[in-house]
Symmetry: C2
Subunit: 142 residues, 2 copies
DNA sequence: CCTTGACCTTCCAGTAGGTGGAAGGACTAT
DNA sequence: ATAGTCCTTCCACCTACTGGAAGGTCAAGG
């Protein structure tokens, strides 16, 4: 199977598929003309990778998941551990962004948004006293 | 003022300050020995940038904010517009991550996490029918 | 005067995960 | 023969830095 075909079937851009070969996630064989020749198993791997990436797993996690995917003796505990740690990272990121959102929302609400230069957003960004008491006490920012 | 001093006062690593000079966010003068010589205004700019970056504004947004910071004739509406569009992006990202979190949480909860290879997480990742009906209908993933 | 150590300089490379584009070979249809 | 599409490799670019090497500068101590 040619790369264009695999790209269409897996939903991954051909560029991405070549990149995945580059970093060793798939090893398609080559025809005499130099074209990559993908087996059905390669297609499955690539679709698997596409789904795993869409769930936000990193490339190295995908590599591990892929080896578990091909391991009939795997324990689901190994898979679950990876997913759990990924989930924890996602939730951590959500919390950070929510704190950010709250700060930004407050600033935006308080800003009149008119022709005057007075602006609470700018006031927040403006350094007031670099050596003394902080405007933003420790722990406010993430 | 030397870069080490500015780094300490602004809280930004010296590397980052040099980088900001590279991309034109600050233009410190040079001494005869080649050392950068930062004015107090440069220090203020850098502290401003540090705070803006900690609020998640991108470098190009920071560049615009910095020009507004130095513009006494600015209208707060311009500042607000930038903050609002940034806030919208943050909130968009939060929604994506929340959808992701929900999916992952569901998979993690349903996975026994034992020595058996049976695993709902793997089932989700495993491509079932590449040409036919999708396991994950359009719109499920972000 | 010399050395040590802290500080400064530039430049190159790498991070994550690709994406865009150029230059050129291969295949298919007319 | 040629046009058009597909394939190949390679190099550069994206964000926003960060690490490290090689080397110049400065202040203090012996």
């Amino acid at each position: 199977m040619n790369i264009g075909n695999v790209s269409e079937q897996s939903g991954l851009p051909a560029k991405t598929i070549r990149y995945y070969e580059d970093i060793g996630l798939v090893q398609p064989s080559r025809r005499e003309n130099g074209y990559r020749d993908f087996a059905v198993q390669d297609l499955h791997k690539l679709a698997f990778l596409g789904r795993a990436r869409s769930l936000g797993f990193g490339i190295e996690e995908c590599r591990t998941l892929l080896s578990l995917y091909e391991d009939r003796e795997r324990s689901s505990a190994d898979v679950k551990a990876i997913a759990q740690s990924h989930l924890a990272r996602v939730d951590q990121k959500i919390e950070e962004l929510q704190a950010l959102s709250a700060t930004l929302r407050d600033l935006v609400v308080r800003c009149h948004g008119d022709d005057c230069p007075d602006c609470p957003i700018m006031d927040d960004l403006t350094p007031s006293d670099l050596a003394g008491t902080r405007k933003h006490p420790a722990g406010t920012t993430l």
